[in-house]
């Protein structure tokens, strides 16, 4: 009952052009049926994400470990709440990040869980920069 060949083939890597996304904006693309948020973070958002004491987080992870170095303004996360799989809303909640409307989990501008029932940070999908304005997800 595992995914069949066509489902696996449809899950091949995709390329996303980042050039149309202005600072402070984000887009949602679908990869393997999952929504992936690509956020062009503002300076303020990056500073907030880095100012946090990592050890105090429910799922400790530094912002540096969640973005590619040299491309700190880009946050790429799978937009599926780690609690029970709802889609969090971007630019909501008290941490300048994501807010899940289902059971009230709040994520910060690095996609890390800060408050609510979710046990883990929003996962970062496998991706790399093909060029400065283009990423390949998968």
């Amino acid at each position: 009952m595992n995914p069949d060949a066509s489902t696996i083939a449809a899950g091949a890597p995709i390329e996303v052009d980042l050039s149309p996304i202005a600072v402070g904006q984000d887009i949602k693309v679908f990869w393997r049926g999952k929504p992936i948020y690509i956020s062009h973070r503002t300076k303020k958002q990056i500073d907030e994400a880095r100012a946090v004491n990592v050890a105090s987080l429910p799922d400790p992870q530094s912002d540096e470990a969640r973005v590619k170095s040299g491309h700190e303004q880009w946050l790429v996360v799978i937009g599926i709440c780690t609690h029970l799989g709802c889609i969090p809303i971007a630019h909501e909640g008290s941490y300048d990040g994501f807010f899940c409307p289902c059971h009230g989990s709040q994520y910060d501008s690095s996609g890390r869980i800060r408050q609510g029932p979710a046990p883990a940070n929003l996962p970062v999908p496998p991706y790399q920069f093909v060029s400065d304005t283009k990423i390949q997800i998968g």
Binding site: G33, K34, C102
Partner: protein
Amino acid sequence: MSGPSDYQPSNPALQWIERRLPIFGLIHSSFVAYPTPRNLNYWWTFGAILSFMLGLQILTGVILAMHYTPNADLAFKSVELIVRDVNYGWLLRNMHAVGASMFFVAVYVHMFRGLYYGSFKEPREVLWILGVIIYLLMMATGFMGYVLPWGQMSFWGATVITNLFSAIPYVGESIVTLLWGGYSVGNPTLNRFFSLHYLLPFVIAGVVVLHVWALHVAGQNNPDGVEPKSEKDTVPFTPHATIKDMFGVACFMLLYAWFIFYMPNYLGDADNYIPANPGVTPPHIVPEWYYLPFYAILRSIPNKLAGVIAMFGAIIILCFLPWLDSARTRSSKYRPLAKQFFWIFVVVCILLGYLGAQPPEGIYVVAGRVLTVCYFAYFLIVLPLLARIEKPRPVPNSISDAVLVKTGSRSTPMVSTAIVLALAGSLFASSIDSAKASEGSDTPPANKWSFSGPFGKFDRGALQRGLKVYKEVCASCHGLSYIAFRNLAEPGGPGYSVAQAAAFASEYKVKEGPNDAGDMFERAGRPADYFPSPFPNEQAARAANGGAAPPDLSLITKARSYKRGFPWFIFDFFTQYQEQGPDYVAAVLQGFEDKVPEGVTIPEGSYYNKYFPGHAIKMPKPLSDGQVTYDDGSPTTVAQYSKDVTTFLMWTAEPHMEARKRLGFQVFVFLIIFAGLMYFTKKKVWAASH
């Protein structure tokens, strides 16, 4: 099923079969001669009611499956087409959807009855555990069935429930992938759920056979909890139990028919009339009502894995009940303390159900935690403790003694009554609090609709005027894709003739093709064509309207609602109030105000609407006085337009509503007469036994 039978049919053909397969002897010994305790009360008819419901669910389900398409792109539409175009499809669908709820109503009564009268105690442990297995299978079947219409709640319910398994350490993620057949809930998930939803009822039927077999080996329990000792204690199953069960089934069907014909959507969720959209989560995900107590337990525990374990534990604990409650007296009738705690437990379960439907915040979280502790304490502390400290009243020597004595003193259980009142009071108080908190968003005013109530009919004039408003105003942005021009001439609709509907259709241009040359071409509309949508696809609609796609209006009056809250949802059951959707639609059409109240900021490109959730709506004020001309002299005001177009949209959401209510009345007349006849036959049959 209780040992070999000496039954011999008199007909030689049946004798021939009986010698080779003793099936008539089996039926005779199990359902005719089978001795049933003579003191059984009406709570014991729920076994028969459940068998009846299982049969009905399988029958309606098999027919529905003949018309249903299990594909993520087509499933939602195929369900709508069943309701609109299949002969009596609306009846089949309502029977099946409401039937699931009624099945659970009956199973909960059946389980609480077993709990109260100690039907799980020695020698009926296996019988009880088989029952718990049936209940688990029912929950799985019900959940997968709810996914099949592929609405928003189907999709997100499936997402949340399948994600429960991701809490299992190490293997959780791979189990979830296995359930999905992909990387998220999608078409493969729908296909396998359809397959399993078709399979599991037959597995249930198989376990039911084992359940009945175990029942007929151990014999039925009874309200006094003493085993039958002599012939005097029992009566033959037929006619005594059969006629009583038939009366029970007839009464249960009255309740069932109330939902089928008069409030089919009362137990459902409005969001499930919106097609599944993997990119948008509904603001508030709730499972069907019969899972709510367990959902409340899940949410009251802040740790994900512990929450999932507690939820499943709440059901699995039932399997151990025979050993947790080791009291020797079976029936709570003779256990003064157990009786009190039983009713407290019932209230705890109902309150957990109420909390499961509330948003997980504030007082609800605290209450949920307290009640979760109560739930488990009943099984793990109260029952084992009572078995040791409680002094039961003496039980009668035999069933016939109990029937003759018939205790006259019915003492009111003071303690539990007080607790029930206190809990109901606190529930009421908390709901008033939350009502105060939500006063900011206005509740749509209730209107008087021609189609409300048990005899409601559509106002033909309003339907025709509403169609005109739709065509001249709404149609420029909103589609009506489930309505064909032929529907305009169907009974229960706007009342046009077939020729008028054909003429109406021919005013539209419909794209068809490809022709022999391979080109698409345009032709005049025919009655079989559907209303054309103003935009070729959702993305185009979104792009043309500032990012917000205008929703299709075919189902809008069923897909929109507002929270009624406690205690209104209880009154609504009796008053058959079903018009939240139309009230909301009419209110939004009239809720535009130029002056934005203080404290509300409306983003650019949006408009202030008093009744729209969040108040910022992308649709500009669509109607203004005198915009559409009416030929019949009705006032050309926004209020009248809104009312007419809402009536029209109620018809598009449910074109067979008049047929539903008409048939409902006939069914009720029949059922009341049938139940009455059954009651008097039962009295006659039992006259000698009481």
